[in-house]
């Protein structure tokens, strides 16, 4: 896997690879056997969401108990992240963080601490007041847009095709953000994302067109993850037939908006090349239930042996320093764990895990980054 980048007006954008080369200090420390802090954390401030997307992996991420994340928990968490040396936080994970009361203070506090913030949202509850409060402090914003046509969007993300008001609301908020970015010359990158299930092929081109119409910086199309039991029923063999349409969508890119397909994930299918799972040591996930587990793949109660703690019950820095944190990380790096059979497909740590596995096997060694840094360098 190479660090392929798409050139945008604002710099090199890497969405279909990793940026470990730019965090070579952590790679070297990890290889030397040190207990490293993650470069990045992906998390949510709640498990709740007002959407009901048909592709949503959160349906498979229920842990044993949910805790309510209060503002004080969230701000303490950021203080601990800063102390640990975590460089970025993406608010994605298993809930819609914009509906949490901690959302705005969390982002503003992260900015004060110098921690970069990214955020994925459906933008339904992301009104102008909230947008103005957070947009100047965010590195990237990615809007979940399941389809380019209102009826399809409402069918996939909500109760049915007649509920197009959710589409209208989201588009209104996205357009507001695009305009605010332009007006204030903000550095934030704005993108929309379609999670492609094989039966949604007719939505590919309308989605790309919508991206151009909105004037966002990119419109990305990615695979759909499934658990190892096949709960969502994704047939990965069907993606290949979509390649011509995906290429056509990419060719619609213009100067302002790049249409990007996450080819490496779409082509990877349902079985990774790696057996050991090193990625979580660099890119940790935390549930909107407060649960700290190595990856969102393990939030469900099924994987309770890999549950490390809950940051609403104890400080994150203490969880990270604990023997149980490292016991779990070492377990995932041991022969007892096999990523090909014991977890769902294509986790958020996929690119990093492939790179680290190739690095250790000598297939492709990670090299220190040189030259101009890509956009969002602190997000792996």
């Amino acid at each position: 896997m190479t660090s392929t980048a798409v050139q945008t007006r604002e710099g090199a954008l890497i969405l279909d690879s990793h940026k470990l080369s730019w965090h070579y200090d952590r790679v070297a420390a990890w290889e030397a056997g040190e207990r490293i802090a993650p470069v990045s954390v992906d998390m949510s401030l709640t498990r709740a969401c007002s959407a009901m997307c048909s592709f949503c992996y959160a349906m498979m991420q229920e842990s044993q108990a949910r805790s309510s994340i209060k503002e004080s928990h969230a701000l303490n968490l950021l203080d601990d992240f800063a102390e640990m040396g975590i460089r970025s936080v993406s608010l994605v994970s298993d809930g819609e963080s914009t509906i949490s009361k901690a959302y705005v203070p969390f982002i503003q506090h992260a900015a004060k601490l110098g921690i970069n913030i990214g955020n994925a949202t459906n933008a339904w509850e992301w009104e102008p007041e909230k947008i103005e409060a957070v947009l100047p402090h965010i590195t990237w914003l990615r809007f979940t847009v399941a389809a380019g046509r209102p009826e399809s969007y409402a069918k996939i993300m909500y109760k049915g095709p007649e509920h197009t008001q959710v589409f209208d609301r989201a588009m209104s908020h996205i357009r507001y953000a695009v305009e605010l970015k332009r007006k204030k010359n903000l550095g934030v990158t704005l993108g929309i994302q379609m999670v492609l299930m094989p039966d949604l092929k007719d939505e590919i081109l309308p989605f790309a067109k919508l991206g151009l119409d909105l004037g966002v910086d990119y419109a990305v199309i990615k695979h759909c993850s499934d658990d190892e039991q096949g709960t969502l029923g994704i047939d990965y063999s069907q993606y290949e037939a979509l390649h011509p349409l995906l290429e056509q969508a990419e060719s619609m890119s213009n100067e302002q908006t790049k249409v990007i397909v996450k080819w490496s994930k779409i082509k990877e299918g349902d079985k990774p090349t790696y057996q050991r799972f090193y990625g979580p040591q660099f890119l940790l996930q935390i549930s909107g239930s407060g649960l700290v587990a190595p990856s969102g793949m393990f939030f469900n109660a099924r994987y309770s042996k890999l549950h490390i703690g809950n940051f609403t019950e104890e400080r994150m820095k203490d969880i990270w320093k604990s023997d149980r944190y490292w016991r779990v990380m070492n377990y995932l790096a041991s022969p007892h764990f096999n990523a090909q059979t014991m977890m769902g497909t294509l986790p958020i740590q996929h690119y990093v895990s492939v790179a680290l596995d190739n690095h250790l096997k000598g297939i492709q060694r990670i090299q220190p980054g040189t030259g101009e840094k890509p956009l969002h360098v602190n997000f792996l």
Binding site: E31, A32, G33, R47, A48, C49, S50, A51, M52, C53, S54, C56, A58, M59, M60, Q61, E62, S63, Q64, A65, R66, D227, Q229, G230, T231, L232, Y274, Q275, R276, Y278, L291, N300, A301, R302, Y303, S304, K305, H307, I308, G309, N310, E313, E314, S322, R324, R327, V328, N330, Y331, A333, S334, P335, H336, F337, N338, T341, M342, D357, L360, K361
Partner: protein
Amino acid sequence: MDSAKHYADVPTPAPGAAWTALNGRQRVDQVKNKLEASPTQFLSQIEVVTAKADGQVIVRMKQSLPASQRGPFLLDLEDYLREIDQALVVWLEPLGDKNSLRNLRGIEVKA
């Protein structure tokens, strides 16, 4: 990271013939018998649901434990059961989504 380097290419152990030759009931009994002999009293905390030929042992917790305790407890359990066969792995029964809206999709998490 010497140990991890060592393990990157190491195959995950597969259950031995002694385990795979048993039927489902016999495998569950073997696990229960082993746990009854344990000084840790694992059975006061869990019930054995199934024990599959591929080495997966599915258990149910009798009462919820905090996240800080259930991970170490279950890893200890798994370590102990590996005295039966090196390939045994412990999982809990999966939980379905508690989000009422998303539940309208009718997705049931497979065990």
